[in-house]
Subunit: 353 residues, 2 copies
């Protein structure tokens, strides 16, 4: 079947570009001690996680307990849950899953460390912990060297937990268009991080793992050598948002959408906010300049399209944000030379708990 | 189970407010000839559709073929698909479903009318058609009286189709905060619509049905008497967006979310863009003023919350947009006096095709 015969809106992957992105990431990390631990949130597809691990990824990163459960269920053996797990029932489940896979979780409070320790002791498992260091994103994590040391020592002293190191994720830098600014901000962060690690070492705490980074900072991290793990996710599909960053990855994910109504200077298509994530901006229409895109739930209105569009035509969209778009679909269609060659289930679609 | 013991983020409905909203809508329409045909897109839950029909709704409105299929499958017998169906395979399915339920669809082109007619003839069914008149929203539909007449005659002349009337949906007016402006714009639209209907009558075309309206214009429509059907959807749950409109409906839908990280002047919760639609703005935190909310995929950062929040606490959010939020969840929990009393499946969640 040709891709434009799919029931629309449909999410497709250009296999050739997808594979080239995988190879470009390998190249990025070549000669560096940085290991890839790709983020599950970007594709939520167990089959793709398996491809990434076969391709050399050290394991997976995920954002939610329900994503973690999906990955363990799919037989993934090394998973970082890059988040704080505050709810005791979730902690109890996490501790049980740690019997089946090597599981690492972030912490930023002593009480949370105590809960994790007790749950792991009950399960008879070991939970690996990274202290989250807030390197400027102002989300979770602690901000001072002293707090990091205090939590690290608390983990070291806790039965059934191991202190592996740090997460320092600078998500706020990821999308900076100016490469020099991205580089200089990243370097400033590294200085802070380096100082922190030295401080911890001086106080007898060994830092084995430093996890962080994203698609936007992959190149920079690869040459830097301070981080041990890169959590990039979007590099496989790419967002329209990353368009101006001159990264070595290309858009491989598209939405196939059908034109449903046309008049002078306006074409309306059957994709909208409920099938294409707009939290990081509007999609781009492939091969067609558009003066303005207006979004509603089930429509994008394409104002003044540069190409003549007729009712029933299909168009390809590059979503503004691949991660939020994947979460709106059940299936990804793999396309080779214009033909659908495989269908992958988005097994963690909607796993937001 | 108390609602704050749910696995978070969880979508809950306050049953009392939900029922009061249903009654408020009945009151709105009392004494008017306007019939309620509520929009499925706002809850996507077959069980709630059944409640609405039992409560006097004439049938349902929906946005997508896959929503239509879900409603037919659930035994709903009168459905308006308030959209153009351009794809021939979808048209073929629609024509088959029209054997099982009374189905009405929008049209705005002659070619589309021909396709619908042929498919219905093959199926041995009858498809009811409304011509979509664009009353100012600049989305689908035709804009001149002459075009409406041409399409109406084309439908009347087509085997296996019936011309029932018009859809004129003024979605762009729905959220106007100034009630006088909302009223005057609505009245101006009515004048246009009245003129159109008179023109059609003069040309021998009878208009049985005029469908349109929304939660924001329900009160106005109810006193106006030109529309025959109201497509309101959000009135059951309400959005934070509708907050300033002084409507007779209250927020009945909330997201229960857990605080996962806290520091001075900042609390981070486990709901974000992947569990709460932000396409019409940020959520509101119940009982807590917040200086700024920063959104990411799985977090909202609550800056300077007016209430002391601790890790593990639950908070209630009023989503900015109920329709896009429902599409991110599988289940709705019905809560009475703080207790979960029922769980409703969101049967059309993700039905975007």
């Amino acid at each position: 079947m040709q891709y434009n015969r799919l029931n629309t809106p449909a999410l497709i992957i250009d296999e050739k570009i997808f594979k080239a992105n995988m190879e470009a990431m390998e190249k990025c990390l070549e000669g560096s001690s940085l290991r890839l631990r790709p983020h599950y949130k970007s594709h939520k597809c167990a089959a793709i996680a398996k491809m990434q691990i076969e391709g050399g990824a050290v394991g997976m990163t995920c954002a939610k307990m329900s994503e973690l459960e999906d990955l363990v269920d799919a037989g993934v053996e090394d998973i970082l849950l890059a988040n704080q797990v505050a709810d005791k029932r979730k902690i109890a489940r996490l501790a049980q899953l740690a019997l089946d896979s090597h599981i690492t979780v972030l912490v930023d409070s002593e009480e949370n460390i105590r809960d994790l320790s007790e749950a792991a002791a009950f399960a008879g498992s070991v939970i690996h912990c990274l202290v989250e260091y807030d390197i400027g994103m102002e989300r979770c994590g602690v901000v001072s060297n002293e707090e990091v040391l205090r939590l690290a020592k608390c983990i070291i002293d806790s039965p059934s937990l191991t202190f592996d190191g740090l997460q320092a994720y600078a998500g706020h830098i990821s999308h900076m268009v100016d490469k020099d600014e991205r580089l200089s901000k990243t370097k400033a962060n590294y200085e802070k991080l380096k100082e922190l690690i030295e401080y911890l070492n001086q106080n007898g705490v060994e830092v084995k793992t430093v996890s962080g980074g994203s698609t936007g900072t992959a190149e920079i991290k690869a040459v830097e050598g301070l981080y041990t793990e890169l959590q990039a996710g979007s590099y496989l599909f790419m967002d329209n948002t990353y368009r101006d960053l001159e990264l070595p990855f290309k858009n491989s994910m598209f939405i196939v959408s059908t034109v449903v109504s046309v008049r002078d200077g306006l074409a309306v298509i059957d994709a909208g906010v409920k099938t294409c994530g707009v939290d990081q901006g509007m999609p781009r229409v492939v091969g067609c300049d558009v003066k303005e895109i207006v979004a509603s739930e089930e429509h994008f209105q394409l104002h003044e399209p540069s190409v003549q569009l007729n009712v029933g035509d299909t168009v390809l969209l590059v979503p503004g944000h691949c991660c939020s778009t994947v979460n709106l679909h059940d299936k990804l269609y793999m396309v080779r030379d214009g033909k659908v060659v495989d269908r992958l289930m988005i097994t963690a679609r909607g796993c937001g708990k």
